[in-house]
Each structure stands twice: as structure tokens, then as C-alpha cells.
């Protein structure tokens, strides 16, 4: 069966880095900051070490994408254009029908371009909350250099960004890892060779599949 290239090597590399750093951040974050889950920190040899893992993973989480954006500027601009372009009624209709489709995968959805409208919508929140969680994390890390009144608000900002990111991450894993039945095999695009099958492309992104032919 024919495979179509979907994710570049650079995109897959950043995704790998983010997969690892994000999971470490969530794990150590829960272990450190929820007293009932302090025991989880034993995996890294206690709370002090888990805190170091949280900090270092945070710098990787922010630093690697920044370097990659600077290194592949044109690709990043193209991606941002894609993310912030709404393709009219098809996108709106798809977005409206998607929640019901989650519970009835046999339903038909309007054709989508390279990114489904739901992917774009998720990307806005993932990009936004990632920026806010990074910014607040940096201020919390260097707290003694900032005024207390600012630092105090960074804690709820860090946590609310985490909640938004966490909700989208759960949905992202469910869909992207192909736990959701129509998305089976999708993992190859990010964790495998960067391709999807022609069949998958036609089913998920028919407008894009036509262009790629």
C-alpha cells in the first residue's frame, strides 16, 4: 500500500523531545506538588531530585522547540499559517460534528485539509498554554529576582495552563496514538517513519490527500 510523507524528520524529533519532557514534567509535577502523590517521587530518588528533573525537563521542553523554530524558520511559518487558517464551512461543520462522531465513528464528516479544524483548535490551546506554562515556570524558577506580587499569580497561572494542557494531552494521546478506533496506526506519522497510508490520508484529510497525489 502506498505511504504518503506527513511529518518531517525535524517535526518528529521535536515531537519525541516533547513527548519525553512533557511526560516527565507531568509526572514529577504531580509527584511534587500534590501532597497525596509525594510518594511517586521515589522513582527519581525523592522530592529534591524530582524537583531537579522537573526543572531540567522544563528547560528542554521550552529550549529545544525554540532552537528548532530558529533552525527551520520557513517550516515553522508554514505550520503557523496552516494552524491559523480556517477553511470556511467545511471546518466549521467538521468541528460541530466531531463530538458526536467520537461516540459514533461510522458518521461522515466534511472533507479536511492538511490539518483538521479540530487539530487547529487544539493547537491554539496547546501553543497558548505551553507558552504560559513556560513563562510562569521561568518566573517561578527565578522567583527571587521578581516582585512577590507577580510571582504569587504565576502559581495559579502555571496550574491552570497545566490543566488546559493536560486535557488536550489526554485527547491528543487518545487520537494520535490510535486508541480511538478510526485513528489506528496513526502513530507511525510521529513515532515511526513519518508517513501515513494513502487510505488513512483519504479518510482523514481528503483535501490534503488530493494535493499530495
Amino acid at each position: 500500500m502506498k505511504q504518503i510523507a506527513r511529518q518531517s524528520g525535524a517535526a518528529r524529533f521535536v515531537h519525541w523531545i516533547h513527548t519525553i519532557s512533557c511526560l516527565l514534567l507531568f509526572y514529577t509535577g504531580f509527584a511534587l506538588y500534590i501532597p497525596a502523590l509525594n510518594g511517586l517521587a521515589a522513582v527519581f530518588g525523592g522530592l529534591q531530585n524530582s524537583r531537579l528533573v522537573h526543572h531540567y525537563s522544563g528547560f528542554v521542553f521550552l529550549g529545544v522547540p525554540i532552537l528548532m523554530i530558529l533552525g527551520t524558520w520557513n517550516g515553522f511559518v508554514a505550520f503557523m499559517k496552516e494552524v491559523f487558517t480556517w477553511e470556511g464551512d467545511d471546518d466549521t461543520e467538521w468541528f460541530k460534528k466531531f463530538p458526536a462522531y467520537l461516540f459514533n465513528a461510522k458518521a461522515k464528516l466534511p472533507p479536511q485539509g492538511k490539518l483538521k479544524s479540530g487539530q487547529k483548535f487544539a493547537d491554539w490551546f496547546i501553543l497558548g498554554s505551553s507558552l504560559l506554562i513556560s513563562l510562569s515556570g521561568i518566573i517561578i524558577y527565578f522567583d527571587l529576582a521578581f516582585p512577590r506580587s507577580l510571582v504569587q499569580w504565576m502559581y495559579p497561572l502555571h496550574d491552570s495552563s497545566m490543566i488546559v494542557l493536560g486535557v488536550f494531552l489526554l485527547i491528543h494521546i487518545y487520537l494520535g496514538a490510535g486508541i480511538f478506533q478510526p485513528y489506528r496506526g496513526m502513530w507511525r506519522a510521529m513515532f515511526g517513519d513519518g508517513t501515513v497510508s494513502e487510505e488513512q490520508a483519504k479518510y482523514h484529510w481528503p483535501k490534503w490527500a488530493k494535493e499530495e497525489k
Partner: protein, 260 residues
Amino acid sequence: MANAVLIDTSKCTACRGCQVACKQWNQLPAEKTTNRGSYENPASLSSKTWTKVTFKETSNDGNPEWLFAKTQCMHCTDATCVRVCPTGAAQKTELGAVIIDQKECTGCRFCVENCPFEVPQYDETTNTAKKCRLCYDRISNGLGPACAKTCPTGAVQFGERDQLVSSGKERVSSLTEKGLTNANLYGDTQLDGLGVMYVLTQKPASYGLPEDPKVPPSAVLWQDILKPVGAIAGGATLVALIASFVANLGYKPDTPKGGK
């Protein structure tokens, strides 16, 4: 039994015996300081200075007045440090003392940044937050804290909180009778009752004490609102995704017409 400290500023001579006794009992080293044009020294609390006497020069009806007050951890009943501490290192003990367990503290500085009295101080060498612990080792053995023990004028009293509240009120009314009309008792109601109360001869602000100290609203949002919101949001998402998976059990993709 909740213990407390009552500091009677009308009896304080600013001898700073309490500062020395605190350093001695807790084995805290001296700090090198510079002359800032005030007897108040050092400039602020630190990881090595857990109590210090503030010297405030004010004027009272045109007459100069020098106000002295011993400052340290307030041992709040509703303590912000206890609310925000992520490891349970900061605790309000049954003896009334708020302590930071140095073995549990990870140096996150949440208490340092959120205490309404700006009391806990970060120690880089131990990577922990430090502050007055009401001489927990002494009071749990039936002794008063070192500062109260050493105070030569009786300005620092340690005892049962309820008793101190009533003796504080009595002292305020006797001071008022003597013409100190601004005299007031500070700390009996703030933050559900402070473990350190003051008989003040002037308004709290003159001593640099906040009139109405509060747990910062950002800390309430963070600890009391976002935690349940996060749990509900995460839980609801998981339930929805599991329901979606179950609803689509047995799903088979359509075979494309004419495809291989």
C-alpha cells in the same frame, strides 16, 4: 492546648536580648551588616535571623516617638505557608507553633513568596526555607521560647493563648486609661487568630504590621479552586474518552471502493 506569645511593645526597651537569645538557642551565626543610620539591625529577617526588633521613628502630635516591636513568625492559625506547602513540611502543630520540617522541605519557596508577613527565608546552602519555630524543641519540653525566657522587662510573654488574649485586653484598657488612646491588641482575630499577638501603643501600620493580613487571593485560587477544577476537568475528559472507546468497540473501517 494552643500556646501563644504576647509582645507588649509598651514594655519593650529594644535591648535586643531576644535576638541574641534566639541566635544562641538555635545556633544561628551572626551576620555581617552595615550601618544604615538606625539601631535596627540587621536590615531584615533572614535564614540566620529569625527574630529582630524593629525601630520606627514616628511623630505623635508633633512629639517624636520611637516605636519598638519584636518581629518573627506570627504562627497563624490559618497559615498561608501550611496551605501552599506541597510536601507537608510546613505544619501547624498542636502546641500552636508553625514549623517547617527541614527534612521534608524541598526549597520550592512557595512559603517564602506567599507568607502575608514575608517571614520564611530561603537558605541556599541547605536548600530549605527557615523561620522561627517558636522554640518547638523547648516548648514541647515544658519550657518557654528562648526570647520570652530572656526578656528582662516581661515584654515577651509565652503562655496559653486564651489567657494571653485576656491579659492583652486588660493591658490595652489600662494603657488607654493612662492616655495612650491609640493602644490596641493586634493578632487576636487576624487569620483566625495569630500565635503571636501584640499590645501596641499606636496603630499597627505605625509598626509596619498589616492591619488586615490575608491569605493572598492568588493562593486561594491556586490551592482551593484550581485543584478541584483540575481533578474534575481531567476526570471528565478521561471518562468521555473511555466512553468513546467503548461506544466504538468492533469498529471496522469501510473498504474503499476499487481500492487494493
